[in-house]
């Protein structure tokens, strides 16, 4: 019996590992490396109503154990995603989570309404937290009532469960989480990137053309764990955790914090095989730690039962 199989709203996952939105395109590139059906699910790149070119380059900069990106939600637009990307992905036995973005409510609603009807889209991930688009985006992610209202609107039109992606760039993440739960969200995904910056030593100017960008990678893992720890104790909907995951050990830490599944983003750039590798290593690690099933790890850091399973000599 599988130690990794899980059920989440709208999703039957072979395993709790999925590539994070924007770090895996629409799957094509990584299908050169392995069979995408191995994945628990795939979170595709943010989709907007119209095609977007995004920000000027440079769009990425490296930081210690992390990276900054300011892609600016480049994507081929709803029509093309529906007619090209999703049908192509349908050849794989893997549920798709469609990342929905926009600069105003109508955009989100329009994309959610039609993309949720695609046969292989099993859930939506509402990106109310993109730090790299001037209007909308970030605002939806920082004001509880705005987020709640947007969630309601999207829920009204969606044919599949709706997960809302939270921004870590807020004073009170629990307040945001409760707001979108009240708005009817079926689940949460967190965290998106922290807003950061790097300067070019030679020119004195920001390295990114967009000046600021989103910080991702191992550097933000402690912040992601803390926020998931806080939120998972305050809401009754499942959390798909992300932020710096690059190993099976990291996955367990996220489950301990309160996640019910996880997404891997930046690590795909460092090792294109990171997802299948983690999927292979997880059962052995669970064995070693003495768990029958990965779900036993969820929230162990704050649940009463979790007792030490073994000790160091």
């Amino acid at each position: 019996m599988s130690k990794l199989r899980l059920e989440l709203p709208g999703l039957t996952l072979k395993n709790p590992i999925m590539p994070a939105s924007g770090c895996f395109g629409f799957g094509k590139e990584y299908s050169q490396f392995y069979d995408l059906s191995k994945l628990g699910a795939i979170m595709i790149k943010a989709t907007t109503v119209e095609p977007r070119f995004g920000n000027p380059t440079p769009r990425v900069a490296e930081t210690s154990a992390g990276m900054l990106n300011a892609i600016g939600l480049q994507n081929p637009g709803l029509a093309s995603v529906l007619s090209n990307e999703l049908p192509w992905l349908a050849q794989y036995d893997v549920p798709i989570i469609a990342n929905v973005a926009g600069s105003q409510e109508e955009d989100y609603v329009a994309v959610a309404k039609s993309i949720s009807k695609a046969s292989n889209v099993h859930a939506l991930e509402i990106n109310i937290s993109c730090p790299n688009v001037k209007t909308g985006g970030i605002a939806f992610g920082t004001i509880p009532d705005v987020a709640k209202h947007l969630t309601k609107k999207v829920k009204d039109v969606s044919d599949v469960p709706v997960y809302v992606k939270l921004s870590p760039n807020v004073t009170n993440i629990v307040e945001m989480a409760k707001a979108v739960e009240a708005g009817g969200a079926d689940g949460l995904t967190m965290i998106n990137t922290l807003v950061g910056m790097r300067m070019d030593l030679k020119t004195g100017k920001p390295i990114l053309a967009n000046r600021t960008g989103g910080l991702s990678g191992p550097a933000i893992k402690p912040v992601a764990l803390r926020m998931i720890y806080e939120v998972s104790q305050a809401v009754n909907i499942p959390i798909i955790g992300m932020g710096g995951i690059e190993s099976a050990e990291d996955v367990i830490e996220f489950f301990y914090a309160g996640a019910s599944a996880v997404a891997v983003g930046t690590a795909n750039f460092v090792d294109p095989f990171v997802c299948p590798t983690i999927i292979e290593e997880l059962p052995l690690l669970l064995e070693k730690l003495g768990y029958e099933h990965i779900s036993e790890c969820t929230g162990r850091s704050w649940r009463k039962h979790g007792e030490p399973t073994y000790h160091r000599a």
Binding site: C23, G25, K28, Q32, F53, E62, A65, M67, G217, V270
Partner: protein, 257 residues
């Protein structure tokens, strides 16, 4: 097909000030389809530096299953790379991208290869293949200063080679563009800093020109949209190309520099 491989370092040496020549043993050479392709290297197992570093393949040998890169130590990653000794294993992803089209010029015709600084390396394999094919190759290589000059001899073996240095400490003082003006050719291949590429594209709009671009990268395989460039000047137009997977070599005019 793109491979991820742990490659043994066969040799690494400093061939000019801060310029290193690194040769590794790798099965992935069998996947190389054209000069000008590149690889993405993970410098270290540690998470800092985190991202891979793109380096061009400057020459390869399928019989020996070896290929060579030439790079300049610049920041964190390349400085660490330069410390790696023979026998150490490097995590390399490649070959990546599309290289220079060798079939765009025929035996007997003349190809002009123009390189600037660390844009010179990929031109070496190109020069070898064109020469082997019977194409007359002329090289114009620009460097900052004498101490940064490398591979002059190797290029000379394949054909005429002009060196320029910005400070005039070696070869002709000035920029490669000053030299090209007086040369005739059927096809121009170039790699180097963007200002140089722009100047060449502008001056030879009527000629057959191929440019190799540089852009900061995330994934290196076409998934993250970090390395895109526009294919038209129209503001509204959203058509684009990815340097990592559609490039790094483009026909002049194909993308907006």
């Amino acid at each position: 097909m793109i491979k991820k491989e742990l490659c043994n370092i066969i040799s690494q040496e400093e061939i000019a000030t801060d310029i290193f020549e690194l040769t590794v043993e790798a099965q992935l050479v069998n996947e190389i389809t054209a000069p000008g392709q590149f690889v993405h290297i993970r410098i270290d197992k540690a998470l800092d530096p985190l991202l891979r570093r793109p380096l061009s393949i400057s020459s390869f040998n399928k019989v020996k299953s070896q290929f060579t890169m030439i790079y300049r130590t610049d920041g964190k990653g390349t400085t660490l790379l330069a410390e790696k000794r023979q026998g150490v294993q490097l995590d390399i992803l490649g070959p990546l991208g599309n290289g220079f089209p060798v079939d765009e010029v025929n035996a007997g015709e003349t190809a002009l290869l123009v390189g600037g600084g660390i844009g010179v390396p990929p031109l070496y394999e190109l020069s070898k293949q064109l020469t082997a094919k019977g194409v007359k190759v002329i090289h114009v290589l620009g460097f900052q200063t004498q101490s940064a000059v490398f591979f002059e001899q190797k290029f000379l073996e394949n054909g005429e080679t002009y060196i320029t240095t910005v400070d005039g400490s070696y070869g002709t003082k000035g920029f490669v563009t000053d030299i090209i003006r007086d040369l005739d050719f059927d096809c121009l291949y170039t790699c180097g800093p963007t200002p140089m590429l722009k100047a060449i594209e502008k001056e030879y709009a009527h000629k057959k020109v191929f440019l190799s671009l540089e852009e900061r990268m995330g994934c290196g395989v076409g998934a993250c949209f970090a390395c895109v460039c526009k294919t038209s000047n129209e503001q509204e137009d959203v058509s684009y190309k990815k340097v990592c997977s559609d490039g790094p070599v483009f026909r002049a005019g194909e993308v907006v520099l």
